[in-house]
């Protein structure tokens, strides 16, 4: 089975052709989205979720730390953005900064506990903390609006120097989110191709060996967890703007599990683009199949189960295999990396 380390990283170049294609598609989306039967709000949701998923994959795919409670940081970011607008002032950058800061602090605090662990204990602790955040969001009505959520979050205007752009329209918000996603994507690409990215993969493959090689594994785990939470917080702030409200739902175990499913289906375990594919598959399936039947989640779940059984590398892995077959190049023989087997 191929892994993230196998697919050659184009280490030198900050851009890759897929990236340019993707960003172009994202930028022109408002024009062709409705023609294919989708709609602008869905485009925004997909953009925001891709940001969330890519940040999450840093933790899940690259570092191999399987967190099942990541929705908490998306939620914290959303609430922070909303609370900033309500109590401090209506400001776009202020709100986004608050969102990132709040999620970073939350992630850093949780990471202190969980960075020591790995494997199943790690997963369970992340679930527990995720539940704690979710509970607090629901119970602290005076702060978060409880189950009804924090309503009436405005979409502040984008002010850059003398330029003032309104984000009220879904289209403008889409472009803004796409710009943020683009920048984040470039940053993440640089990160995973830098030595830091390699260390993450080393930790994933064998934590003990990485420690013996001299890396401060605990600190790196803490760092990647916090970073991943920050990106989630940024996505959360954008999401609060899109919905004009913040709800506790994204923090639930169910939704934290969904992002994991998206990562796997898309092939985040083997490819940088996995999260993108996974998010696309999920949202389009939800909208299209969901429009036909109310049991769409059943079909998505079945597909997911079959994928885990048959092709855990997900869509990206499948694409890799297909492409290799077309190129008639010798397919990398699936030598199971030692870490893929339980010791």
């Amino acid at each position: 089975m191929i892994s993230l380390s196998d697919i050659p990283a184009r280490g030198g170049s900050p851009f890759t052709p897929p990236m340019i294609v993707f960003l172009l598609a994202l930028a022109t989306a408002p024009f062709w989205l409705e023609a294919v039967g989708l709609y602008s709000y869905l485009g925004i949701e997909i953009t925001i979720w891709i940001l969330y998923a890519m940040g999450f994959n840093l933790l899940f795919g690259y570092a191999g730390l399987h967190s099942f409670g990541h929705g908490a940081y998306l939620g914290v970011g959303a609430y922070a953005f909303g609370l900033f607008q309500h109590h401090v002032g209506v400001s776009l950058w202020g709100g986004l900064l608050a969102a990132v800061l709040a999620a970073t602090i939350a992630g850093a605090a949780v990471a202190l506990f969980v960075a020591h662990r790995r494997g199943i204990y790690f997963a369970l602790l992340t679930i527990a903390f995720g539940q704690v955040f979710w509970f607090c969001a629901i119970k602290l009505r005076w702060l978060t609006g409880g189950e009804d959520g924090l309503l009436g979050i405005p979409r502040p205007d984008l002010v850059v120097g003398p330029l003032r752009v309104s984000l009220q329209e879904n289209t403008s918000l889409h472009w803004f989110s796409a710009a943020i996603l683009g920048l984040a994507m470039l940053g993440l690409w640089r990160l995973v191709n830098a030595p830091f990215g390699r260390v993450l993969q080393a930790i994933r493959q064998n934590e003990m060996r990485a420690r013996f090689a001299g890396y401060d594994v605990w600190r790196i785990k803490w760092l990647v967890f916090t970073l991943s939470a920050s990106v989630a917080g940024l996505a959360g702030g954008l999401f609060a703007m899109a919905q004009e409200s913040a709800y506790p739902d994204v923090m639930s175990l169910h939704q934290s599990g969904l992002i994991v499913m998206m990562i796997l289906v898309g092939g985040g375990l083997v490819s940088f683009w996995g999260p993108v594919l996974g998010v696309l598959v999920y949202f389009i399936a939800r909208d299209i199949i969901g429009g036909i039947t109310e049991t769409w989640l059943l079909w998505f779940g079945l597909m997911f189960v079959v994928m885990v059984m048959v092709r855990p590398e997900g869509a990206a892995g499948l694409a890799h295999v297909v492409r290799a077959r077309f190129a008639r190049a010798p397919v990398k023989t699936p030598v199971s990396a030692p870490a893929e087997r339980s010791a």
């Binding site: 204990y121 602790l125 903390f129 509970f135 119970k139 796997l264 059943l298 779940g301 855990p312």
Partner: protein, 306 residues
């Protein structure tokens, strides 16, 4: 202090039922090294199949159906108590077959597959039985309330607690005193050796999964009248189960029971003071225990620690 007694009783009853669920869970984890996130779904399946059996909805309108509804509620309930867990066991075996491609790979894949399975089962339940609330009818003999010391207690809760104690005792008996139980215990220590000794590992795994799922289904049938019956009760159950075996220590029988009682008491007692936060108490408990004693109260090192 006296007024705390009913809450403690509540908590103990909850704890016993949690213990039943946790036992099935820990058996599967012990032998299979798979975290079965679909355990809650088996819990739900047991309850729903029991509902179908008691109500006779499968064969309503047929001659058999007419005869069935003429039976006493007690007889129908008893058969629900048998068939519910049996059907859950069947589902467990199917899941085990689906899990086979993931053996030998990182535990993550098993975890993910069972998570997906849990989702699929919940959606299937929604499809077949609808999304609304259902209620499991119990015979009059164990239903209703009674007065004791000036406080009202629910008869059914006592029955549920008693039944759970019986069930836990039977499981213990099976594991400690029968040869099959010995094989299962051996398998949870060292499955390779068990295979080397000539036992069919495939059959063993199938049997353990069926047994674990049956326990969960049994717990489901018993808890449904207390907790209500709707498609997503599975999720409400699987995380506490997971939590309990970690707190108690993976692979330990008495650890699971002790931890379950602890969790039940925590939930019950916080129910007296801050009812809205009672479910949160178990997560706090987990964080505290695992924070201080990494392997839980009675845990041994296991393959899960990769």
């Amino acid at each position: 202090m006296y007024s705390l007694i009913p809450h403690i009783v509540n908590g103990l009853t909850l704890g016993l039922l949690f213990a039943l669920i946790a036992l099935g869970f820990t058996l599967i984890v012990g032998v299979m090294e798979v975290i079965n996130l679909a355990h809650g779904a088996f819990f739900a399946l047991g309850a729903y199949f029991a509902l179908a059996t008691i109500g006779g909805s499968w064969f309503a309108g047929t001659e058999f159906g007419v005869w069935w509804s003429s039976l006493s509620p007690g007889a129908r309930y008893a058969s629900g108590l048998i068939f519910g867990p049996l059907c859950a066991a069947g589902a467990g075996m199917i899941l085990e077959l689906c899990l086979r491609p993931t053996y030998g790979k990182a535990p993550l894949y098993g975890l993910l597959l069972t998570f997906g399975a849990a989702l699929v089962i919940e959606e299937l339940i929604r499809l077949v039985w609808g999304t609304g609330e259902q209620s499991l009818s119990v015979p009059q003999a164990i239903n209703g309330a009674f007065l004791m010391g000036g406080l009202i207690f629910s008869k059914y809760k006592f029955y549920a607690a008693a039944f759970s104690i019986l069930a836990i005792f039977l499981v213990w008996l099976f594991l400690e005193k029968t040869p099959y139980g010995a094989i299962i215990k051996a398998g949870s220590h060292d499955s390779e050796m068990v295979r080397a000794l000539g036992f069919d590992l495939g059959k063993l795994r199938l049997a353990v999964f069926a047994f674990g799922a049956a326990l969960a289904g049994l717990a489901g049938v018993i808890m449904a009248p207390i907790w209500g019956l709707r498609p997503h009760i599975g999720i409400d159950v699987v995380i506490p189960a997971f939590l309990i075996i970690v707190v108690g220590g993976v692979g330990s029988f008495w650890g699971a029971v002790a931890a379950a009682m602890l969790v039940g008491l925590a939930v019950g007692i916080t129910g007296a003071y801050a009812a809205a936060w009672s479910m949160l108490s178990m997560y706090i408990l987990l964080i505290l225990v695992v924070g201080f004693r990494a392997r839980g109260l009675f845990g041994r090192k296991s393959a899960l620690e990769n």
